[in-house]
Amino acid sequence: MTVLTSLPQFPWLSLLIVLPLVGALLCLMHSKRPADCRALSLATSLAVFGVALYLFICHGQGEGRWLLYEDVSWIERFGARYVLAMDGIALLMVLLTSFMQVSAVLLAWRVERHVSSFFALLLLLEAGLMGIFLAYDLVLFYLFWEVALIPMFFLISVWGGANRRQAALKFFLYTLVGSFFMLIAIIALYQIHGAQSGVYSFVIGDLLQTQLTAAQEGWLFAGFMAAFIVKSPLVPFHTWLTDALTESPAAGSLDLTGLLLKTGIYGLIRVAFPLFPNATENFLPILAILALIGLFHAAWSAYHQDDIKRLLAYSSISHLGLVVLGLAAWQFTAWEGSILLMVSHGITTGGLFVLVALIQERTGTRSMKELGGLWGQAPCLGFLFLLFSLASLGLPGLANFSGEILVLLGTFQQHPLWAVIALLGVVFAAAYILRLVQGVLWGPAYKERSVPDLTLREWIILLPMAILVVWMGVYPEPFLAPMHGAVETLLAGGLP
């Protein structure tokens, strides 16, 4: 292990996790005063965002493997340590999480039932996500993995739509089964490593040195992949997502699509690939095929949907297919593109989900048959909807394109055929997105209902997202720069 552990510094990373937890607790303690809860959770999420922003600006360009590292002994008996580590990729994910969380809190402003619990769960979810992105010890990682799961389950099952129970249960079972395999693999790896070296440890950095036979590596890798593939989600393990996204409350779907889905891919990058390089190498083509199937399957399915939320859920699956494809290409540019796309997809699809929630609030429907002509009634809303849709469609100059083109440029250098097939998927993306835009914005307006335009609060949610979408499309350099070093080390496999 590195000697970074001894550096005395302020525990910024712990702060990122502790702050939302404290916020959640305070929310629960003020359950009688909903207004306070709102203000409190907004303040908390803003504070977390502030910390993340500070880290991005002041620690974004560090030397060495890690930008920040914290290591405290935790459960000594088992060799589980409280290790948090942040590299460029984690930094981006942390930034995205804290940013989306502010939006989610603002979006949930009008929740009426069990306000304090809602915000507490939202903040707990943020803590879990932060933990996933920062943990560098497998027990800790698994712990946060489950911590992030539970609030989401309640968010869906209590505040969700008509079919919420079933959707929540489906979500819970899928992810739980996946993570169960991961748990087994974690323990097995721990045992193997301990028996080999005599040092029983869960820290990823220690486990990297484990010598595994091909069969062992394959099985352990499969265990981890079960969790990550379900979470990513790749076809055919994706049906939980469409239901969960469709049924969950607005803030929940924002977090689900923007952040929770990324944990699966992040797990691939941070845990599965480095720990099992040989198995990874063998598995990459399969991963690519799964990704491509997912990309096309979801694009086709999206075209058939009438419920706009469900359509967006499929579009998420399709985009994440491209992200996974970039990872499977195992190429520097493609990886950077994938990570960038992950971030930008979080923002664009997040924005779309916000807008869908607003549209549903105003019109009471999500069916394209009953929508249309919104542009004339609420031009600002329509404009932003168009903007995010176009970004999602991969228009150059908007956020998703930067990631997509990097993925494709990188992938083509390794596997031209994959890139070409993926490009065909781009047309399909255009097909369903344009169908969405046409169904929502164009056509005759429904005269019997009036659709008010965006309010100030909604502007505050959407405007930063819109600005980011353009910024990331035109000048993604600030987001690309921090990850260069991290991607390089991860690809080389030469981790400390």
Partner: protein, 626 residues
């Protein structure tokens, strides 16, 4: 002056677009209009001012890094050279006139902010294509053009058909974009750069097979934007947009982008004989296809749309025959007279009381200002290729290039070009006769033509008629200005004996005359059209839409249904529900054993105890005691 000021040329329309988009509805209408026109006119003036930069190898300017990751290092960079300069001038110039016209045309439209901001954005995107230094910036403009056409064709979105036409334009061109993107990725993979000039420089060192494939991909990409076979179906429907938009799409922006792309990458494309032949073949096929379709159209703008397709086919043929100068020459003259024709058609439609059908027009010389007839005629004779007009010289140059090409197969293309010219002359004059000759057959009341819709036509008529001077052939005493200006970028120098040239000219004149006379004979006096299978076939564009629908759209929708209902609902969810049912069944079975009765549990415990004991015993017996 600093060369990065060159960025003002595309950024001026962009900034105006953004300002209008954000503040348009809050500011007075006049402000938005002035801003829109100023943006484009400013770009025109700047182009003139910066003309000097284009000489020699041209000037490169880098704004800032766009994407930087690993070996990818792409900047927002532009390259103002001899190929880009005239194109920029044309785009901004024609677009300025169109914008002026649009101010008049849209004076009753309430949603003007969206319109003008999209128009300015459109010009920006086209300038990005023209000025791009690397293929990614070009791709930015390329997609941007698609987006703007989407927004503008579907501008009157309340009618769902308009929105659908816009969507169609975006989607069909996007299919072409995919091929362009593949070419882009491929070029990057083999050359390690996306800079156009570097790719052109490295072209000779690439393997011929790769060059051929990449060129064909580029061709398909160009086909999408330039509405060539097989990706041409969107253009006719694009008439759903306001007339200034049609003018912009057909004359200054969008459809010419494909031709420009091929000219830009000509050093690469020209290396492949197969690709060059394919380009010519596609151009020729489209030219004759569109010309036949134009014969039977009833809507004035559709006739013009098909004529555009046909004329762009000529430009493709020119590129295929190796004459970049010829292609660009035709592109420029075509831009002038087609913008003119569209804008005049807009006036005509206004006069006919928003009537599109040419069979319900007629006698419009007497209903509106007579000058309209003259400017429309000026455009028409250019299109028909009447001698001494701009269109005549540019088209003749292309036919000459085809005729003199060493490969004998080009004679076939040349013949197609000649036949197309005949058809062009025929349908052009058919249009003129149906619209202007005879008595008025419609019922609509004429609208008043605002001044702004009238005077922008004059400069265009002037340019169209005298456009030939741009590149007057040597044998009629010209100096081939454009060809010399392009210098080493001009492609193959067409050399032919004077006899051949004169023969071709005489032939062209004869053909135009025949077309005119045929139209004169058939349409001078109005006769009601007869419906028959052939006319329906041509009217529907050879049923290409239906074919596309059958071949692609329906299978796609079916696939969507299959994936969503078939796979997800039935297969995946069904399997899981089955598993869940099975688990529930098992659990019910096990739950039955949980009777809740103490006695059951106790006896189960006792039996278990017995088994345990028995096992011990067995172990002892098999172990032979201790």
């Amino acid at each position: 002056m600093n060369e990065s000021l060159l960025f003002l040329i595309p950024l001026l329309p962009l900034c105006c677009a953004v300002i209008i988009m954000v503040f348009g509805m809050r500011l007075p209408r006049l402000f938005a209009e002035v801003l829109a026109v100023t943006g484009v006119a400013g770009a025109f003036v700047l182009t003139v001012l910066f003309w000097g930069y284009s000489e020699g190898e041209g000037t490169r300017a880098v704004l800032f890094t766009w994407l930087n990751s690993g070996s990818v290092d792409i900047s927002f960079a532009l390259h103002f050279d001899r190929l880009a300069a005239p194109m920029t001038l044309m785009v901004t110039g024609v677009a300025t006139l169109i914008h002026l016209y649009a101010v008049g045309y849209m004076h009753e439209e309430k949603d003007y902010a969206r319109f003008f901001s999209l128009m300015n954005l459109f010009v920006f995107a086209m300038l990005a294509i023209v000025l791009a230094d690397n293929l990614l910036v070009l791709f930015l403009g390329w997609e941007g053009v698609g987006l703007c056409s989407y927004g503008l064709i579907g501008f009157w979105y309340q009618k769902l058909e308009n929105a659908k036409a816009g969507t169609k334009a975006f989607l069909v061109t996007r299919v072409g974009d995919v091929f362009l993107a593949i070419a882009l990725l491929w070029l990057f993979a083999i050359t390690g750069t996306l800079s156009i000039s570097e790719i052109n420089a490295q072209a000779t060192s690439l393997s011929p097979g790769v060059v051929t494939v990449v060129s064909l991909l580029l061709l398909l990409g160009a086909c999408g934007k330039s509405a060539q076979l097989p990706l041409m179906t969107w253009l006719a429907d694009a008439m759903a947009g306001p007339t200034p938009v049609s003018a912009l799409i057909h004359a200054a922006t969008m459809v010419t982008a494909g031709v420009y792309l091929l000219c830009r990458l000509f050093p690469l494309v020209s290396l492949s004989v197969v690709a060059m032949t394919a380009i010519t073949a596609i151009g020729a096929l489209t030219a004759i296809y569109a010309a036949t379709c134009a014969l039977a159209q009833r809507e004035i703008k559709r006739v013009l749309a098909y004529s555009t397709m046909s004329q762009v086919g000529y430009m493709f043929m020119a590129v295929g025959a190796g004459s970049v100068a010829g292609a660009m020459f035709h592109l420029l003259t075509h831009a002038f007279f087609k913008a003119l024709l569209f804008m005049a058609a807009g006036c005509v439609i206004h006069l006919a009381g928003e009537e599109n059908d040419i069979f319900k027009m007629g006698g419009l010389t007497r209903r509106g200002p007579v000058e309209l007839f003259w400017v429309f005629l000026a455009g028409a004779v250019c299109l028909a290729g009447l001698p001494l007009t701009g269109g005549f010289f540019s088209k003749d140059g292309i036919l000459l290039a085809l005729f003199t090409h060493p490969d004998p197969v080009y004679r076939v293309f040349w013949l197609v070009g000649v036949v197309t010219a005949l058809l062009t002359a025929f349908y052009t004059f058919r249009l003129v006769y149906l619209v202007f000759a005879g008595e008025y057959r419609g019922v609509g009341h004429p609208h008043v033509l605002p001044l702004l819709m009238r005077w922008p036509l004059w400069p265009l008529a002037f340019l169209g008629l005298l456009g030939g001077l741009l590149n007057l052939p040597a044998f009629v005493g010209g100096s081939e200005t454009l060809h010399n200006w392009y210098d080493n970028l001009a492609g193959r120098t067409v050399t032919a004996s004077h006899e051949v040239e004169w023969m071709l000219i005489v032939l062209a004149v004869a053909i135009t005359a025949i077309g005119w006379f045929a139209a004169h004979w058939r349409y001078r006096i109005y006769r009601a059209p007869q419906e028959n299978a052939i006319s329906r076939f041509l009217l529907n564009g050879w049923y290409a839409d239906a074919l596309v629908d059958r071949l692609f759209v329906r299978p796609f929708a079916a696939m969507g249904r299959f994936c969503s209902s078939g796979c997800d609902r039935t297969l995946f969810d069904g399997t899981l529900n089955g598993l869940a049912k099975m688990a529930t069944g098992w659990s019910a079975l096990i739950a039955q054993m949980t009777t809740g009765r103490l006695t059951t549990y106790l006896s189960a415990f006792a039996w278990g105890f017995l088994i345990l004991l028995g096992w011990f015993l067995l172990k002892l017996v098999s172990g032979g005691g201790h």
